[in-house]
């Protein structure tokens, strides 16, 4: 351990830690552009210059290792002057087109200018013209004029995605970031370069001009794009959705979790949020005269309960329940209480055998594109739907309750055709919902509280960002009411009370980076 003094405060850090990291430990934020904790050190923006006692020149805090007894000053005339100088240099060829820049409001040029700006420009030469706003891949636009050449994006594609699409070309103030000849920024993690770009040089094509960032609200969540469970923030706006085609979710940003995704997420997760606002089932529907008709919750649930009850009295084995690994632990726990513990139904399944597996790599993406398969298994819900559908094909299933899944393989469709009564509970319309007798609108993970358990058994909390669309309801609410109508009332107030029963602790007691299955104190006791 090395103990160093920064601005009069002492801090001890591990050997090899840099001054910028030591300062962060003390809550001292040293301005930076090229430094990013997840990337190698470039040391090129020179914004983090600090004074170190007994050193002749200012040193860059991002690269200088903390050494025992070091005395660092981050607030001095010399440091201020250097920061002001670097900022002035960075801005001379910057177009200052903040009014039409998506980064505006979350731009580090703006942020540091507040404190270190000159405010009266003395640059009267012509600015250098470069290529503006051109797509470099399916998701990312590059504006070379706004670029300050911090090379974070280059280092990301070299070191993290290891796809090497971007490079720094030319020399001196003619330098530009660009694609290598014949390449496009088309890797599965391309969106991350937008996050790490400290200025408006790299912007998201999907988010471009959709919403000024100061209108965005943010809620912590977990990505449902695959079994990794990357930590994310959902950036949403419910009142200014006109530029975004009515969508409330405007974009997804990764949230740091050292055990799961560090600073990154895949493009699958980042751009996979449209289901939250599009193609939604907004009301309960009942099939009348072979048409799905808008209904209300009371009569829809009454019908569901009645049909289930009749089938149950006839033969519990004539009922099939196919739950979904898209549901939260709380949803699944409640479903288990009702269907397995109370009703003791024999035909419970989880997985869709026809579901396409995604690309899996050695970085974040898992082939299982569901967020909670592991959680369902931990709760005791598993198995392929194939067996139930085989029974259905033989006419043995009278009542089938399907959550989320779309069974549109020909053999599955044939099987479903033989089921007299299908209840579909989910969020988006699909071929299975369209052929159901009863459609119940559930809530997306952005619209409810809950937890997912990722592939390695890490239980992670997601928070409700906004209320469910129209008449849609959290799945726990739907199941609760159904349970009451079936004569098995449950007394859970909210998802957290379910979680407490399952894990023995409340949401606030989950570590900020999640908790491993079986690690809860109540369960260990």
């Amino acid at each position: 351990m090395a103990t160093i003094t920064i601005d009069g405060q002492q801090v001890s850090v591990e050997p090899g830690q840099t001054v910028i990291q030591a300062a962060e430990k003390l809550g001292i934020y040293i301005p930076r552009y090229c430094y990013h904790p997840g990337l190698s050190i470039a040391g090129s923006c020179r914004m983090c210059l600090v004074e170190i006692e007994n050193m002749p020149k200012l040193q860059i805090a991002c690269y200088t290792q903390a050494q025992d007894g070091m005395n660092v000053i981050t607030q001095s005339e010399a440091v201020y002057q250097a920061r002001q100088a670097m900022l002035e240099f960075l801005l001379i060829n910057h177009p200052l087109d903040c009014p039409v820049c998506d980064q505006s409001g979350e731009c580090d040029l703006q942020n540091f200018y507040m404190e270190h700006g000159r405010y009266d420009s003395r640059f009267i030469e012509n600015k250098i013209k470069r290529k503006k706003a051109f797509p470099i891949g399916p998701h990312v636009l590059l504006d070379q004029e706004r670029c300050i050449l911090c090379t974070r994006c280059v280092r990301f594609t070299d070191e993290i995605s290891k796809t090497h699409e971007l490079g720094c070309f030319n020399r001196g103030n003619r330098s530009v970031i660009d694609l290598y000849p014949g390449k496009r920024l088309e890797n599965l993690y391309s969106g991350n370069v937008v996050d790490i770009c400290p200025v408006g040089a790299l912007t998201e094509r999907e988010f471009r001009f959709k919403c000024r960032v100061w209108y965005l609200r943010s809620e912590e969540s977990i990505c449902n794009g695959c079994a990794r469970g990357c930590n994310i923030n959902i950036h949403f706006n419910s009142t200014r959705t006109y530029k975004a085609g009515g969508r409330r979710v405007q974009r997804i940003k990764p949230r740091y979790n050292p055990h799961v995704n560090e600073w990154w997420i895949s493009d699958v997760g980042r751009f996979g949020f449209e289901f939250i606002d599009q193609n939604r089932i907004e009301f309960p529907y009942r099939r009348e005269e072979n048409e799905l008709q808008n209904s209300d919750w009371e009569s829809a649930l009454d019908q569901a309960a009645q049909e289930l009850q009749e089938a149950y009295e006839d033969d519990p084995a004539s009922i099939g329940v196919i739950l979904s690994p898209q549901l939260s632990n709380e949803d699944l726990y409640l479903a288990k209480k009702l269907f397995i513990d109370a009703l003791q139904l024999p035909n419970i399944a989880l997985e869709n055998p026809w579901e396409k597996r995604g690309i899996e790599d050695d970085f974040l993406l898992k082939a299982d594109r569901n967020p909670n398969t592991r959680g369902a298994h931990e709760i005791g819900i598993k198995g392929s739907a194939r067996e139930i559908l085989e029974k259905a094909a033989k006419g043995e299933i009278r009542f089938l309750y399907i959550f989320w899944h779309d069974f549109n393989a020909p053999e599955a469709r044939e099987a479903l055709a033989k089921v007299p009564f299908i209840v579909f509970q989910g969020v988006n319309w699909n071929s299975t919902a369209e052929r159901a007798s009863l459609v119940l609108p559930g809530a997306t993970h952005a619209e409810k509280d809950g937890t997912f358990t990722n592939f390695e058994g890490r239980i992670q909390r997601f928070k409700q960002a906004f209320v469910p669309l129209e008449e849609a309801r959290a799945d726990t609410e739907i199941l609760k009411q159904l349970a009451a109508k079936l004569g098995h009332p449950v007394s859970y107030l909210d998802p957290e009370t379910i979680f407490i029963e399952w894990q023995g602790i409340g949401y606030d007691e989950i570590d900020e980076y999640g908790m491993m299955v079986g690690s809860a104190p109540a369960l260990q006791a």
């Binding site: 020179r46 020149k57 670097m86 002035e88 060829n93």
Partner: protein, 430 residues
């Protein structure tokens, strides 16, 4: 006392680059002596005693540089010869490469033996076509004669020497930019530490020495370090090549002891100023050194005296300018070079050099403003000591010194939209 010629001994002699001719005149005897009779430690000892300093520009003591190479490493060690001579005004290494390449090869052998290196690279400036051809020819000859290869001079010591041509970037003469380029990457200087002595070429310990530095080694080994040290002055051993250019009657490469007065170089060896006009300014160590005024011409040409005067001896490129030279245009020329050659990696250099050049261009075009001079002074300050490598300081040094020492010329130019020098010459002619 006649001036001792060491590395320039055979300059101008067409035969000197032939191996057989050189061998007849003692070529490779010093290397043989080192390999046969001296331990590597003894070689380093002699070089340390000689006070030989890095003659590429930084002036770092050579013996000390070698001593930083880790002794007990399991990695290969490399020697990289910096022949990327590109500092404006500098043309001395070229003479060695063209006239006496075997002296360099012999120096390489001595260095490699002392440090325990078996692979050496010469990174030669791309534009140096003839020097490259002559060096490559000498290397081929040396291989053929068994001087390089698995048994250097028949001794139990192997050494391979490769000549690699640069592609025309000044920044690749910066030692870590050179290493990057040699590794096949963009020539962006590295952050230091670690220094190349520990993590250099391909991540291995590396000695980087200038052509001239290495070329001094044979005579040091032949005559002893003390002999060499005595040729120069305190802490500045031996002689060095001065590349004299500008408004002198006899420009050229002169080998003089360190500590020679600048006046002697210009007026005795250089034959004085063209047309016997008045001397106005001297750039003492290549374009990146601070300019001296005519009043400072009695300064001693050694690393320490020039550093004390706020300039540097650098690569030994002395550019003399007489009264007819416009200092505004001279600085404009220099800053054009740095703006063109800045690698673009770090902020103050990338943006600063470009801004300075644009401002000077505007002044030269007659659109200057008095506040530009203040801005230029601030830029010089902001570009000093803030960048990854020394190129930015190299641009800031002439900037600050020209504006400070010839302020009246800049003010005149801005005020009257024409050069002070040109205006004056017109007045005189009337």
């Amino acid at each position: 006392m006649p001036i001792k010629k060491i590395v320039s001994e055979f300059f101008g002699n067409e035969d000197a680059r032939r191996l057989d001719w050189r061998i007849q005149r003692g070529g490779y005897e010093a290397a043989r002596k080192a390999l046969r009779t001296m331990s590597p430690e003894q070689v380093i000892e002699e070089v340390t005693t000689s006070n030989l300093r890095g003659l590429g520009g930084a002036g770092f003591p050579t013996g000390r540089k070698w001593s930083f190479i880790p002794k007990d490493t399991d990695k290969p060690k490399y020697l990289t010869v910096n022949a990327d001579e590109a500092e404006p005004g500098t043309f001395k290494d070229r003479y060695i490469l063209e006239w006496d390449p075997h002296r360099l090869i012999e120096g390489v052998i001595i260095c490699c033996y002392a440090v325990g290196i078996h692979k050496a690279y010469v990174y030669i400036r791309g534009e140096y076509v003839r020097p490259y051809e002559r060096l490559q020819q000498a290397v081929d000859e040396a291989y053929e004669a068994g001087i390089l290869g698995p048994k250097v001079l028949g001794e139990d010591f192997s050494l391979d020497l490769y000549v690699h041509r640069g592609a025309g970037a000044y920044i690749c003469g910066e030692e870590t930019g050179l290493l990057e380029s040699l590794e096949g990457k963009k020539g962006w200087p590295r952050l230091k530490p670690p220094f190349p002595a520990v993590v250099g070429l391909f991540g291995c310990p590396t000695v980087i020495n200038n052509v001239e530095t290495l070329s001094h080694l044979p005579k040091i080994i032949e005559n002893g370090g003390q002999w060499f040290a005595d040729l120069g002055c305190e802490r500045n051993g031996g002689t060095r090549l001065f590349a004299l250019s500008g408004n002198v009657k006899k420009p050229g490469v002169y080998e003089l002891p360190l500590g020679t007065p600048l006046r002697e170089l210009i007026y005795e060896h250089g034959g004085g100023i063209q047309d016997d006009r008045a001397l106005k300014a001297i750039i003492p160590g290549g374009a990146s050194s601070a300019v001296l005024t005519a009043d400072e011409v009695d300064i001693s040409l050694d690393f320490d005296s020039l550093a004390k005067a706020g300039s540097m001896l650098g690569s030994g490129a002395v550019i003399a300018m007489h009264e007819g030279i416009c200092m505004v245009k001279a600085l404009h020329n220099i800053e054009h070079f740095f703006a063109h050659e800045s690698c673009g990696q770090c902020t103050p250099c990338r943006e600063g050099t470009g801004w300075v050049y644009k401002t000077l261009s505007r002044i030269v075009a007659g659109h200057g403003r008095m506040e530009d001079l203040h801005a230029l002074r601030i830029h010089s300050r902001n570009m000093t000591g803030t960048s990854i490598c020394a190129l930015c300081d190299g641009a800031a040094m002439p900037l600050g010194s020209f504006v400070r020492k010839f302020e009246h010329e800049f003010e005149y130019y801005i005020k009257y939209k024409r050069s002070y020098v040109e205006a004056r010459s017109e007045t005189v002619s009337i």
